[in-house]
Symmetry: C2
Subunit: 216 residues, 2 copies
């Protein structure tokens, strides 16, 4: 019988599985390679996790929980908007720097298995309504320009996540394939992105620029 508390072996397996799955994806990963990486017999993988699919499921959920909800807390806090954007961008890029392969991993597996999305969303309480309401308030109060809050949120996500998803090609094209240069770039990017966003949405006193089509 399996114990509730996870054994040391179980942790070692999960660690190895995470590495291999993130590197190779579900289909590319080999149970033997995971076992080798963990330095144990392949049968143990099945002993603890029954099947490749179950093992993957566990790894995926751990990754998802690591990256998504932590950042959601910030969006639902009651900080003022500009501070919140800075806070969000800083934290998100930090978390992703520590787990640079997780966004690509999540996006790919999610595009393969769209069914899982809805259960994940339900499980982690992904709901942008509070943040959307805050953006509306700021628009009405005149501190930011008119826009569709969903567009703004997706701008924020894109600017934070994309550099990690596209790391290989960006690193090759813009940074002579130097990992160190790319890391430096990401550090600078934290400040760069918040400034970029805030400069764009902040309303100038003298003119009222309206964005097209707020929301229906």
């Amino acid at each position: 019988m399996k114990k509730v508390k996870e054994s040391a072996t179980e942790k070692i397996i999960l660690e190895a599985a995470r590495k291999v799955f993130i590197d190779k994806g579900y289909y590319g990963a080999r149970m033997q390679e995971i076992a080798d990486e963990a330095g144990i017999n392949k049968a143990l993988l099945h002993y603890y996790f029954r099947s490749k699919e179950k093992l993957f499921e566990t790894v995926f959920l751990e990754a998802f929980v690591k990256v998504v909800p932590s950042v959601l807390v910030i969006l639902n806090s009651d900080e003022p908007l500009f501070k919140k954007i800075e806070h969000f961008v800083n934290n998100y890029i930090d978390i992703l720097t520590e787990n640079p392969f997780i966004p690509g991993f999540i996006l790919y597996e999610l595009s393969q298995n769209t069914k899982r999305i809805s259960s994940l969303i339900r499980g982690t309480g992904l709901n942008p309504q509070f943040f959307i309401a805050q953006i509306y308030k700021e628009i009405e109060s005149g501190s930011i320009k008119n826009c569709d809050p969903r567009q703004l949120i997706i701008h924020m996500l894109a600017l934070c996540i994309f550099p990690f998803v596209a790391q290989p090609i960006l690193q090759a094209v813009f940074f002579k394939n130097s990992v160190e240069e790319y890391r430096q770039f990401l550090r600078e990017r934290k400040a760069e992105v918040s400034k970029f966003i805030i400069a764009s949405i902040r309303k100038q006193q003298e003119e009222e620029i309206t964005f097209s089509n707020p929301i229906q």
Copy 2:
């Protein structure tokens, strides 16, 4: 012997291979599935393309060429910066709307097998130097704020590409899983993104805001 002009069968195979590879990725794809999809015998795949890897390379390069270089032409044109940004964003989002799964495909395969794929890409002449120089000129002339041109380019790419890479989850979270609503959102996004970028980088006459750390 293989003819120079590709036969009808060859086209059918490529079409089927594209579909399966994009859906399942390199490791997930099965030669038998591609053959079934094409309605032909599996041996024909090897007859025309020798191996899975060669077939994949062909498919990948076709996809890459469809999405990347066409848009590079715009960046290397001599339009003024703001017009060029609008032009770029409009064209890119259009192209991606027609090929919504290609970005994810490219990024995924690139992250799985960076070495092999980057040698494939090298032949396609990706070079942002001209556009980078243009951005510098605009900074010097005082029409846009100071910034690292690479950051700006990656902002642009992120804002265009991310909505396609993350479509499943964004659609679920923000658009009740409605494909039509998401399409509408992408249409609006074209205008939204250029405005967002230009509003952020345009320099106001009265103040000179400097971004941190231009380039070394």
